[in-house]
């Protein structure tokens, strides 16, 4: 996983509540067995017209937001399906940071697993950042993860919260499995304990 330290990039505003993962990537594009190559389907129903041509009114089809690496939305971003194809599609499109007043739990988790930083900020701050983003390429937002601040184009710094473990994983670009496997002894001990306490626990075996 790519490390996340600082990011200075164009931000695009999608001023909507409840942007669900079906909207980020519709189910019909989930038939891949790969993690990559999904960027072309990101926001399919908003980005393309029914004939397949680009919708020129959609923010991510306009310069400079076509190159946006930050998205700012309203509440409950990523609700609905648990599909990790949603962060995969965002990442493949080039998005490394998503900012919203609130997120759906599974999407929030999935972002971290893919080196995308989700930042929770109050709705009125999101409004300010959306307003900044309309200044186009002159309005780059800077995300400084080590210092936990979003730096607005006028230099104002907006602090944000992040769980220390997740911050560490993002800064180092670490994947969880290796970390957890360092606790092999504890896992084995737990398994032994459960086998003693709940010996009736069945296993699944098919003939």
């Amino acid at each position: 996983m790519e490390k996340f330290t600082t990011l200075s990039a164009v931000a695009a505003a999608l001023p909507e509540d409840n942007i669900d993962t079906d909207k980020i990537i519709p189910a019909r594009f989930l038939k891949t067995t790969q993690r990559t190559g999904l960027g072309k389907y990101a926001f399919d129903s908003m980005r393309y017209r029914p004939d397949g041509s680009e919708n020129p009114d959609f923010i991510l089809n306009k310069a400079p937001w076509r190159n946006a690496e930050i998205l700012v939305t309203y509440d409950n971003l990523g609700c609905g399906s648990s599909r990790e194809h949603a962060p995969w599609a965002l990442l493949d499109f080039g998005i490394r940071c998503v900012i919203a007043p609130s997120f759906a739990d599974i999407f929030f988790n999935n972002c971290f697993k893919n080196g995308i930083l989700p930042i929770k900020l109050p709705r009125e701050v999101c409004d300010q950042l959306m307003s900044d983003s309309t200044m186009g390429s002159n309005a780059r937002l800077t995300i400084d993860l080590p210092r936990q601040v979003v730096i607005r184009p006028d230099g104002e710094e907006v602090p944000f919260e992040i769980d220390p473990f997740r911050k560490h994983m993002l800064l180092e670009g670490l994947d969880d499995i290796g970390q957890t496997l360092q606790h092999e002894t504890e896992i084995k001990t737990f398994e032994h304990k459960v086998a003693g306490e709940r010996p009736w626990m069945p296993t699944i075996t098919l003939d």
Binding site: E16, D22, G80, N110, I177, W200, P202, I204
Partner: protein, 467 residues
């Protein structure tokens, strides 16, 4: 020890270790796999040279993009076929118990788990699918995860989690005749909103919930995710134990009795703390449905479509208008009487035998209205067989419904069962997002009885008028 909730107890039973920052390594008892969210995880294991830690705690089935038509023919869509074949190769290589497409036990993973006795009370259950919350009806902590987490569970049989907050939704009283679990859950989501449960596990309690059969409890827990909750739970009781007894993979004999003794200790203690409490009266709930493109846009069937002009917040007003435009509805119109093109009875929300019986009760002796396509997609091969033994298939076929094979089908349109742009569907599924059932499709979420009523009248109809 301080009084604990059902969630607290299951959590405590599964914590392997809590790390200094408060994240816990949580042990997973059951890992359910399907073809869409697992291939990248198996590939990750392979690349890292890792094994599946506990194949005997894992189960796989194909459901999301399987055809629901004749299965003796090859699968036409090459990408769907590839995903199914990839799963079949992976389960063989990694030794995972698997219910293949042509097995009678195949079906939607959230129908198959409880039906086979694989999902049991007190367990932690995960699957790369948000509707894993369904299994919470067993009194298990069950939630959806992303594919990276699927790989993590495969390799370690654990997941990294922080404890959720506790929320309790209590529904006291008796449901009026013709009001089902689906109506209860739609009413709850309409009340608390799609983010009402975010960060929480919801325990559903109260006499109206305890009075539901297991299928009804599964419908409720299934849509916990539509209320934003991490999981839904119902305390295991005699209804649960009677359901579990003699299921193929449930404990047997003395083991079963010992298990029940343990399961009885799981219910929330008196005086346990809930971070959030919501109460509804069962008598206030009418047959309900959604009018918009978010599951919280709920109306009783006797209601009228809301007017965006009454919404004070500008961004919400714009979003409401956009929903009305997308759905082809007018503010202030009566929702009953709106013509439908398609009726879909199925999905992990409402495809169990009890759901099919409720639909058949309305369909019996009637005909599907002219110009309406109505499909019944049972949740599993076993549900289908039981319905056929009870003669429900004949009731549906005589009425002009399609009687199909088990799978996710038109809930999400990954297989050939899709809406075309502008088509309006009365659907027993769980999500009414734009394009969910096919690009441009318009979805009204409702119960099996209401869906059947829409099929035979050709429009959204109060099912109580027909039984």
């Amino acid at each position: 020890m301080a009084p604990r909730t059902l969630f607290d107890k299951i959590w405590d039973h599964h914590v392997v270790e809590t790390l200094p920052d408060g994240t816990s390594i949580l042990y997973i008892d059951r890992h359910l796999l399907h073809e869409v969210t697992s291939p990248q995880a198996f590939e990750g294991l392979r690349l890292a040279g890792r094994k599946l830690r506990h194949p005997e705690m894992t189960m796989a089935v194909v459901d999301h993009n399987v055809p629901t038509s004749d299965r003796t023919k090859p699968i036409e869509e090459p990408e769907s076929r590839n995903q199914i074949e990839t799963l079949e190769r992976n389960v063989k290589e990694f030794g995972v118990p698997y219910f293949p497409l042509l097995s009678a036990s195949q079906g939607i993973v959230h129908v198959v788990g409880p039906e086979q006795g694989i999902s049991l009370p007190g367990m932690t259950i995960v699957c790369g699918d948000s509707h894993t919350s369904t299994h919470g009806a067993m009194g298990s902590l069950a939630f959806g995860i992303g594919t990276s987490e699927v790989e993590h569970v495969m390799a370690t049989q654990t997941i990294l989690q922080r404890p959720a907050k506790n929320m309790r939704v209590t529904v006291e009283g008796e449901l009026a005749p013709g009001v089902s679990a689906k109506d209860v859950m739609l009413a709850i989501i309409g009340h608390i909103g799609t983010a009402g449960g975010t960060g929480h596990v919801i325990e559903f309690a109260g006499s109206a919930i305890r009075g539901l059969d297991m299928a009804g409890r599964m419908t409720i827990c299934n849509m916990s995710i539509e209320a934003g909750a991490r999981a839904g739970l119902v305390a295991p009781d005699d209804t649960t134990f009677d359901y579990v007894r003699n299921r193929p993979f449930a404990p047997k004999g003395e083991d079963f009795e010992n298990a029940v003794t343990f399961w009885r200790t799981l219910a929330t203690d008196d005086g346990a703390h809930f971070d959030k409490e919501v109460s509804l009266r069962a008598e206030d709930i009418a047959p309900s449905l959604t009018w918009g493109t978010s599951p919280e846009t709920v109306l009783p069937i006797t209601g009228t479509v809301p007017d965006p002009a009454q919404e004070p917040d500008e961004s919400k007003r714009v979003q409401m208008q956009r929903m009305l435009d997308y759905m082809g509805l007018e503010a202030g119109q009566k929702i009953a009487g709106t013509p439908v093109d398609v009726v879909f009875i199925g999905s992990c929300t409402n495809s169990r035998i009890e759901d099919l019986r409720a639909a058949a009760q309305v369909a019996a002796g009637r005909k599907v209205a002219d110009g309406v396509r109505a499909m019944i997609v049972p949740g599993s091969g076993l549900v289908k067989m039981q319905a056929e033994e009870e003669g429900l298939d004949q009731i549906f076929l005589d009425a002009g419904f399609e009687w199909r094979e088990a799978g996710c089908s038109m809930c999400l349109g990954m297989n050939p069962d899709k809406l075309t742009p502008g088509q309006r569907c009365a659907s027993t599924s769980n999500r009414n997002f734009e394009g969910r059932q096919g690009p441009g499709g318009r979805t009204h979420l409702l119960s099996p009885a209401m869906a059947a009523a829409a099929a035979v009248t050709g429009c959204l109809t109060d099912s109580r008028e027909l039984v």
